[in-house]
Subunit: 121 residues, 2 copies
Amino acid sequence: MTSRDETDELTLKFDENGLIAAIAQDADTKEVLMLAWMNEEALNKTIETGQAHYWSRSRSELWHKGATSGAVQIVKEMRIDCDQDAVLLLIDQQGGGACHTGRPSCFYRIIDSDRKLAFKS
Amino acid sequence: MTSRDETDELTLKFDENGLIAAIAQDADTKEVLMLAWMNEEALNKTIETGQAHYWSRSRSELWHKGATSGAVQIVKEMRIDCDQDAVLLLIDQQGGGACHTGRPSCFYRIIDSDRKLAFKS
């Protein structure tokens, strides 16, 4: 175990691109909705505003989730993992679904044992 | 939307290190237990054996979770996200906790509004 495991100080471990993984989970249903990425600015904005902000790797810009669509994510609780390179957001999803396809969750397909994908919603 | 979103073919998008993120969630309690990484071999082994395999970035080796400790993860369902760069494992955690600290989940600390960490277990 390292000091990051047992400290009460936030000592984030960003990757070589300055990012940490962020899991968004529905605070009520506990469904995992999406996995996205945060840089330090996105993390700070999320803490300051109480709404999820990510770093868009495809657009290379700060991404206030739902700012244009209304599908913002209200952060009820924010957790950090043992080695401080991943965060878990317990959120209330506003507006439409969390996924850009319009579905509630990005994880809408099950990998079968034959490696085919089965749609669950 | 891209073809990756709506296909029933597994067309994984690995990152520049050949990895995808893997979220392990307790199939019963829905608690998010950990975030780890998979390369293609780890993903294949997970599908073939029904037990979670990851790629250890710190040790640079295939990691059969719990192989020595007994804390294996039995995979009940495996999902892929819209753009196929993250998987979600719904698992039964055997043995001790999922976290190397012995806790059930790696996400045992809450980030407070003043950026201090509060231990929840």
